[in-house]
Symmetry: C2
Subunit: 240 residues, 2 copies
Amino acid sequence: MQPPTAILETHLLTIGSAIKNMHVLILANGSPPPRDLAQRVAATADLIIATDGAAMKAYDLGLQPHLICGDFDSIDKAHASQLFPAAEIVVAPNQDYADLEKSLQLARDRGATQVTVLGATGGRLDHTLANLALLLSWHRTMTLCIQEANTFLWCLSANRNSPSKRILPTQPDDIISVIAIEPAILSIHGVQWEADHLLLQPGTRAVSNKALGRNVEIELVQGTVFLCLLSSSIRETPAP
Amino acid sequence: MQPPTAILETHLLTIGSAIKNMHVLILANGSPPPRDLAQRVAATADLIIATDGAAMKAYDLGLQPHLICGDFDSIDKAHASQLFPAAEIVVAPNQDYADLEKSLQLARDRGATQVTVLGATGGRLDHTLANLALLLSWHRTMTLCIQEANTFLWCLSANRNSPSKRILPTQPDDIISVIAIEPAILSIHGVQWEADHLLLQPGTRAVSNKALGRNVEIELVQGTVFLCLLSSSIRETPAP
């Protein structure tokens, strides 16, 4: 489940490569996020990438992408450059991978340690699924979050030799859902329905738990899960 | 990855239990499908189940559910009975599982061999994810399809001792996407970009292939994948 390499058919470039703990915002070409949310996330990002046709959505949202990356089949390069004259155009024509996957590799190559993806959901169901699969592939490489309005989605995996622990900053009544994609064993504390070493099968078993206070602690000792936080108020991406 | 048992806190009942090759339509409480699609699928179903509050959506869509199943927190029983006096009300108060999972168990207990779920997507992201996880759990038990307008989603899994082969009835230019959730090995024929024993990692690698003719053949020899068909015209759920 390592991310594929050598997707990009471009030279490594240098924007952002000197920044430590670099937070990258990637705007993908699914349903656009609310304008205020996009601008709030952009304000915390060191680097903003728009994938291909999402450049037009970035324009409508008032974002200024530093990079526009893709095969340029949804927008032509001239139009992208006209919208954002200062942006670097990264042409990645490889048809084997979607533009979001190419953009993740670009983000990694520029030094990203934390990536927030907006616009990854709400379009075609197969695109949404493929974007969710990117969380599965890439979450070990960087802190990767798909955000949809006030909903934050991460992936977490562990095995008996290498448990994973996350402390999520929450507000009371935030909703926490854990969805296993294979049998998982986990403990969860700081919620209405706590659990210790719960064997979680794929399904709806651990959906819609509720945060009691300022922290929810999740310890996974086996398996791979999606971890979903539905926040009760608008705020920036928490970095667990 | 076997589905959990004993979710339902009700007696086994008898509607539909004598039908062979029983096709069940479950209407879940996400984004409602187009009215004409709902009615076309319903016309091919031997049994129609609405999950809890989806009973109101069924009413709006002109469907007549035989069963309404859930914890009745989104609609009260009296209201459900008023909308559909002939429907059987199946109260399943167990809060550990969502109403769609309870409805799948009900469908199985009534003898379902093929289940089409409408309204499983498009609501809360964690609900959509949990419903996708139900495909992972239940696809070995029955032919299970999540349908969203003209998009059909199945799950397929295999191991070296037990390969899986599917022949999808297609139309030229239908889009076929295969999304792995773990490293998978598969062959695909009858499409624009054919592959033999392709090692597919989770990600966007095999998204947006195109059917050339009336059949697409997929053989999986290892792993678990989502198999997504985007049909170019409205039609009933194909049964691969």
